[in-house]
């Protein structure tokens, strides 16, 4: 317990919000190279905040416990979010400068979005949950339309804004119903009020459904996924990387906390919804991706599919589910960072790669890059010995322990279908012959090269020492 006045600076959220504003001012007063300097500063801030979260100082701030909660599950996801945002900044720096959209507001907005996500993961109250979702999404809307020269970027920003506002409205409607029928907005008090009831009243069920729909928008679970491919395709690839990696982690953490904290005793009510979301996301994610020719759209459908697998763990709702979901999100983050690190630095005749067919002939000219891509694709398809296998493995263990045989069979079937389009990329890279002999440029900065190398090593050699992650995640508890 820290009682010093300055100890409030060691609360990660407060520290990050101060540094957000500091980063904004720093960028304003810089004349030259403001983007490069502010993004370096932002990376350092994010790493510092993740250390603060890891250490986890306890403070006795007044009213703090009413709105914020801390447990090792929350801290794990917060660290994931911080590290994810920092690595997105590392891998996307060159891309922003190359596209001449290197504004210093970009790192600041990413910091604000990360702050929103940190608050969101630790939210202990419906009001703070709504505000944090707004803080996060408002920054993301601006980031989506940051490229003013591209009409697609503007389109994706407007689309995201309208659909995000709609989902926020639905979410708020759900909150108001839950508040109206329980008389409180605090997670703990909602749980206490609900524990006195044997059945949920109709109003609370409606509220719960609306809240889950709003959150399903945020994690882009089918049937609320419509925005994902368009926005992923339209936004600049570096922003797409941020969208694909970080907000998903926080929204998944929030949906787990919401279902397992206030509505813990009523799993019959929500598990049907999550069950449907899970199966439909897995199948749509794997089937719709087959027809795609754009790499970014393919990754969008792939992320929809991955969300479906994580939701299996929530349906299972046993002591394995927290562990398996944490492992899955960690692995999802690693795979996505590495694939975007490659996409953001691979150029063909001075254009960044957009289509799958652009990859033809890369195995001849850049054998190492294509090997990395192949490893990531094998891993995403869930083939052993790569890391992606373990994510799916623990998810299915959790499902089988709760005797969800149908769901696990469906999951395996969907992952077989998904393997087709992951392996197709490998086929295009290694076996397709191009008529034209175009040269590939692989321009990657030193830091992102190191990051990519480390991630590829983790993906490949995770099998040697998996117990580090698995032991750590098995002690995670939601409360």
């Amino acid at each position: 317990m820290l009682n010093n006045f300055f100890s409030i600076l060691l609360v990660p959220e407060i520290c990050l919000s101060i540094f957000c504003i500091a980063n904004l001012l720093y960028g304003l007063f810089l004349k030259k190279n403001s983007f490069r300097k502010t993004s370096n500063f932002a990376i350092i801030i994010l790493l510092f905040v993740s250390i603060l979260i890891f250490v986890g100082f306890k403070t006795d701030l007044a009213f703090f416990d009413l709105f914020f909660k801390s447990s090792n599950f929350i801290r794990f996801f917060k660290i994931l979010v911080c590290l994810g945002a920092a690595s997105v900044l590392i891998i996307s720096k060159n891309y922003f400068i190359d596209l001449k959209i290197s504004k210093f507001e970009i790192p600041t907005l990413i910091l604000f979005a990360t702050l929103g996500m940190l608050i969101m993961i630790g939210a202990n109250n419906l009001m703070i949950m709504y505000l944090s979702i707004e803080l996060q999404s408002l920054s993301l809307y601006v980031l989506a339309s940051i490229n003013k020269n591209s009409i697609y970027s503007a389109e994706s920003g407007v689309k995201y804004f309208i659909l995000g506002a709609l989902s926020s409205g639905i979410l708020l409607y759900g909150f108001s119903l839950v508040y109206g029928f329980t008389g409180t907005t605090s997670f703990e008090e909602i749980k206490i009020v609900l524990s006195q009831q044997t059945d949920l009243s109709l109003g609370i069920i409606f509220g719960l459904v609306f809240i889950l729909v709003g959150l399903a928008f945020k994690i882009s679970a089918v049937p609320f996924h419509m925005w994902t491919p368009d926005i992923y395709e339209g936004a600049p690839t570096s922003v797409t990387a941020f969208f694909a990696i970080v907000p998903k982690i926080s929204a998944v953490a929030l949906i787990f906390r919401l279902c397992l904290e206030p509505f813990e005793n009523f799993s019959n009510e929500w598990s049907q919804i999550i069950f449907f979301l899970s199966i439909s996301s897995m199948f749509l994610g794997s089937i719709a991706a087959i027809a795609q020719s754009s790499l970014k759209r393919l990754l969008a459908y792939s992320s929809i599919g991955h969300i479906g697998y994580v939701l299996i763990a929530l349906v299972a709702n046993n002591d394995q589910s927290i562990k398996s979901a944490s492992i899955y999100m960690f692995i999802y983050m690693i795979m996505n960072i590495s694939i975007f690190a490659i996409l953001l630095s691979l150029k063909k005749s001075n254009m960044y790669l957009e289509k799958i067919s652009d990859l033809v002939g890369i195995s001849k000219s850049n054998p190492i890059t294509s090997l990395c891509l192949a490893i990531i694709m094998f891993s995403m398809a869930g083939l052993p010995p790569f890391i992606g296998f373990f994510g799916k493995f623990y998810i299915f263990i959790a499902a089988i322990e709760s005797e969800l045989y149908f769901l696990s069979i469906m999951g395996v079937l969907a992952s077989v279908i998904a393997a087709y389009y992951y392996l197709r990329i490998i086929k295009v890279m290694y076996f397709d012959v191009s008529e034209k002999n175009e040269s590939f440029d692989f321009v990657i900065s030193f830091h992102s090269k190191i990051l990519l190398l480390v991630l590829i090593l983790i993906i490949t050699f995770f099998i040697i020492y998996p117990s580090l992650l698995i032991n750590y995640t098995s002690i995670l508890r939601i409360t």
Binding site: S17, A62, I128, L131, L138
Partner: protein
């Protein structure tokens, strides 16, 4: 309590009248000004109910921001209002239908027992005057219990500001700006140059 009904009827009469003027006046600028009058009278009604905070918010937000924004839009944009009015007769039946439905709904509300039995009417008939005003009570809870929420709201507004500036600010490289310091440092001897110009030739 003779003054209370008089003020109530005065405010509500002007509010309804100006609301009518909003939709019937020819000039859109007049419409917006009548809208502002209607808002201010509704604010007066709120004061009568003892909800002085709500009254102030109504004036500050709706009159100060929204209505003035309307006024700017009406005055700045060249909207052809005569053309907008063209479909009036066409949509009249539908509009009356909506109005009738609304009236039926309201009358059902008034006629049902649960509404007339409830204490809701007691609340509105006479204001309860506390020692502490609403504004103070709201402030006391907003800056203590809900301090973190208040701060996050501030951050959201900051993000909105950053975002709107980022998306709209264009750096036009060749724009000519006034440099006051260099203007002040202009030396008369260097700035003006005398030249003899021959007749029939340029400089």
């Amino acid at each position: 309590m003779f003054l209370y009904p008089i003020t109530f009827y005065l405010f509500s009469f002007i509010a309804v009248l100006s609301a009518l003027m909003v939709i019937s006046s020819k000039n859109p600028v007049n419409s917006v000004l009548f809208l502002i009058l209607s808002f201010i009278n509704s604010a007066g009604l709120f004061v009568l109910l003892g909800a002085e905070f709500l009254a102030m918010i109504l004036v500050v937000v709706y009159v100060g921001a929204v209505a003035v924004l309307f006024l700017f839009v009406v005055m700045m944009l060249d909207i052809n209002f005569i053309k907008l009015r063209e479909g009036f007769l066409q949509y009249l039946p539908f509009g009356t239908l909506l109005g009738i439905v609304l009236i039926i709904e309201l009358s059902i509300l008034f006629l049902t027992k649960s509404f007339s039995n409830s204490n809701l009417i007691n609340y509105s008939s006479s204001p309860t005057i506390n020692d502490i005003e609403n504004t103070k009570l709201i402030g006391e809870i907003l800056y203590t219990d809900y301090f973190y929420l208040f701060q996050i709201c501030g951050l959201i507004l900051l993000v909105a500001m950053i975002g709107s500036i980022t998306l709209t600010l264009r750096d036009r490289g060749q724009i000519k700006r006034q440099k006051i310091s260099s203007q002040n440092y202009v030396d008369a001897k260097k700035a003006i140059e005398k030249k003899k110009v021959k007749i029939g030739e340029g400089v």
